[in-house]
Assembly symmetry: C2
Homo-oligomer: 192 residues x 2
């Protein structure tokens, strides 16, 4: 997606440790017009599929998922990272290791909102080592819902997540795949 790659080149900041900061438009401040274009692009790529629910994970996936959902006319469910007293006891649960935060979360989805008959598109802002997406995939499987695929805004192609998920037969559509980036020069190489 050219608009997205141009934006990453213009406003993305490369930091030590293969960190790509895109928090001016994607995951802290959010450019909603860009999100609308992202939604239209996911709709184009999954136009063949029947989808009746979008599943994402808090926090930075939620905004993107909600705007993307407008292109699909479906509700969004977001997986929560800790058990709150407002969640009913009946939940699907898994554990996800966060690369960004360096710790392990319990991730839950209420059984009421995911189950047989749901045709689920996963949406997230980043795909790196794939732990979050792997967790969401497990929740979908446990619930008896059907996993249609995953729509990712930025995939770090040099990390293992994308390959791992595709080898499992999951259709992963990433709008920008970063194959390499250079902190010193600021150069970002995207996969064709």
């Amino acid at each position: 997606m050219k608009e997205l790659k141009d934006r990453i080149r213009r406003d993305g900041i490369i930091r030590a440790g293969n960190v790509l900061k895109v928090d001016s438009f994607l995951n802290h401040q959010m450019d909603i017009q860009l999100f609308e274009a992202i939604g239209q692009e996911f709709k184009r790529r999954f136009s063949y599929a029947e989808i009746n629910k979008i599943l994402t994970i808090e926090a930075s996936g939620i905004g993107i998922a909600c705007v993307v959902a407008q292109s699909f006319h479906v509700p969004v469910v977001f997986a929560k990272k800790t058990q709150t007293k407002n969640i009913s006891g009946e939940v699907y649960t898994t554990k996800v290791e966060s690369y960004t935060h360096g710790r392990i979360y319990d991730v839950i989805v209420s059984r009421e909102f995911l189950g047989k008959g749901d045709k689920v598109l996963l949406i997230d802002d980043f795909l790196a080592n794939g732990k979050a997406l792997e967790g969401l995939t497990k929740l979908v499987k446990d619930s008896g819902a059907e996993l249609v695929g995953a729509g990712i805004v930025i995939e770090k192609g040099f990390q293992i997540g994308g390959r791992m998920l595709r080898e499992q037969g999951i259709r992963v559509e990433s709008l920008a795949i970063v194959d390499s980036m250079d902190e010193a020069t600021g150069e970002i190489v995207f996969r064709e």
Copy 2:
């Protein structure tokens, strides 16, 4: 907002401890069409005002804020509840006590994304004791931005937050104000 009140009456569940569960359409599973109607209603109520940024707090405020932002054509910034290594060191910070989770969070916003010249509308799903909104108000004040007001989906009118914020001169627009609710009968009384 009649559509919202009808939805709360139909799908809201009252639990002990003055908990109103609306997680089938507002803050776990999210009805995006309802969010669009909510956005149009906030736009109507703040039509007099110049607004160039929406500020919310993770996690359940983000989806609403992003869809509401489409009615205002402005970017969204969400305040983060813990410091991650992807956030630059330059942040505004405050502490917020969560009623739902029963603990105190550090809440941060990057200085890059909030400051002088910003005319800010706060958006959140719930207003109860007002701690989250008070924290966001402090972040706006610290940044030198202008606080235009706050748009709340559901206010618990029997808790102190709404009165406290309005007494500080903040324009708080709540689309549904619950004055009382009865766990035994399921009855909800909305303020006229």
